[in-house]
Symmetry: C2
């Protein structure tokens, strides 16, 4: 026991390697490798001896070395915008589920809506040689990814399209969903409808605005500039925008909220006002049905988006090389009441 401590006892902070296991079991290195990986060509007796050594030493294969040797990491990266946003929970979960079913681990991080942080994170993942990436982009120029994609890292964009490169993309039907939402309000008698959305640099915000305008145009309704407010989704900003629209000389009689965060603030603002105002929100949220009035929404399906994206990714990893495709996941209007409030008489 005085010679080499490894192979007999464990030192804190030092892990046994296959070499140690081999020494202890009195076999060759490659035999240990075979046992660890369940490869054939090992007699039951040898296998038992190796297994004993493994247990005795507390050996665990070092995947870093394995990855280096094999070239594949069996891990994929997920870059999203805010881990705390409820929209991403189911999406995250769906991606993880698919990854798991393919035996891959998920490495993730959030960009906090900051393009440079997105790039930093993505490149760190590439340096780790993840096999593929699912990205909810914060940036609008992804040419920095070109060398990585050329090098074989599969990449799928979700929720927003990639900027200046061609890649697989999974989006919600933002345009159609917004149209439905606004058409719903129009069908219930509204003529002056406000739209409060996210910053215009964000693709979804632009598409939803386009849907809003299309629905208004289809009904032959004019859109006053003061009815459209794009910008941060911070409560203050949303509150201010809503108040302005509702206190105008010719106030809007209904609001279309461009996303989750906006809807929640809108509900708060409307709850404080005496006169009921119709509201439809883009993106569903838990308890939307419990608020009074229950909130009518255009529901997205984040789990479906996640599954689709991860599916697309693993398709690529299996070597399928179609041209990049853009998938749109349909949205669904869920009428719960808040969209059916008729316009107040002037």
């Amino acid at each position: 026991m005085t010679d080499t401590a490894r192979g007999t006892s464990r030192r804190y902070g030092t892990r046994p390697t296959m070499k140690d296991v081999a020494a202890r079991a009195g076999v060759g290195l490659k035999t240990v490798s075979r046992v660890v990986n369940g490869e054939p060509g090992v007699t039951p007796d040898t296998e038992r001896r190796v297994q004993e050594a493994i247990t005795a030493l507390g050996f665990r294969r070092n995947d870093s070395a394995r990855i280096l040797r094999k070239g594949r990491t069996a891990s994929i990266g997920l870059v999203l915008e805010d881990l705390a946003d409820p929209f991403y929970g189911p999406l995250n979960r769906a991606v993880e589920e698919v990854a798991r079913s393919h035996g891959a681990l998920l490495i993730n991080g959030s960009s906090a809506e900051d393009p440079s942080r997105e790039q930093e994170l993505v490149l760190a993942l590439c340096a780790r040689r993840v096999d593929g990436l699912v990205i909810i982009p914060a940036a609008d120029d992804h040419r920095y990814l070109e060398p990585e994609i050329t090098a074989g890292i599969a990449t799928v964009f979700v929720d927003r399209p990639a900027g200046r490169i061609d890649a697989d993309t999974v989006l919600s039907d933002n345009f159609g969903g917004a149209q439905d939402a606004v058409a719903h309000l129009i069908a219930h008698g509204h003529r002056r409808i406000g739209f409060i959305g996210d910053q215009p640099r964000i693709h979804t915000a632009r598409e939803r605005l386009r849907g809003y305008r299309a629905a208004m145009a289809a009904a032959g309704l004019p859109v006053d500039d003061s009815w459209v407010a794009l910008g941060s989704t911070a409560p203050d900003r949303v509150r201010a925008a809503a108040t302005t629209m509702l206190d105008a000389p010719e106030p809007v009689t209904a609001l279309f909220a461009g996303n989750n965060r906006v809807t929640v603030t809108a509900v708060r603002v409307l709850g404080e006002r005496p006169r009921p105002v119709a509201l439809v929100g883009f993106d569903d949220f838990e308890l939307a049905d419990l608020v009074r009035p229950a909130i009518t929404v255009v529901a997205q399906d984040p789990a479906h988006m996640g599954r689709t994206a991860a599916g697309l990714l693993f398709r690529r990893l299996d070597g399928i090389e179609d041209p990049p495709r853009r998938t749109e996941i349909p949205t669904r209007l869920i009428a719960r009441g808040s969209g059916e409030i008729p316009p107040a008489e002037d």
Copy 2:
């Protein structure tokens, strides 16, 4: 160009290595390494040549090799129970934020409340040689982690304690929070209070039950067996439990919901009943203030828990070797109205 394609052009699926960069720049391997890592001892001219070669080839350091060589992965693992549960969003985010500030990546996965899946996931992370682990345990025996901890993988448990091993732990004050919740109901005149909680094998469920009993005992109130229902948090089960308690000959006049999921279902059930019933929930949720009546809750602070856990973890990684410590994060009763409904007259 007919000789070696590497070094001059890029082949799909093959990445340039430092060797290729060195060849192209006409320098030694180690010099490239120095430039890539910003080590001193390189003349500006040489550095420029190397940088040019790096850009031209689209080189990116292979972190797998680096990790193998250095022994540290600069990544930590986070194992939680359900990525889609809103409680874990802020926790996840907080852990990621701390990891990021330490230059580490976050690898995560969920156990789906399945002990064997937890173990599988944790060991996969150990094989990756993550530097540390933050675990929200699903299992109640963690001895399988002993060799890993001995080998130097720092480990912190969150939300629930580790089973049969001694390790750093960050918990909510489940007992105290539950006591506060029930005391609040008692203060508003309730004598018959039901408790609907999670499965008894889950530590938090047991602690909250203990708090419930303690508060009742402190007020000198008896607890009927039929007032306590522990089990799955699936809506059906919760609905059934609530209905039984409320339709009993001597019905409970208030409910204490053992977590988030239970509270939401309870709100639905109570909303369908003519006679108002008081309710306090453990764990806050978005929009709890918008439901009518607004829901009184005992709020946990998942972000605080995540920050604390990650902080503890990196403390260990910095080499501090105190005995394991157990930290309790206080809870806060947020009275919003639903807990102040007085008991109905019989």
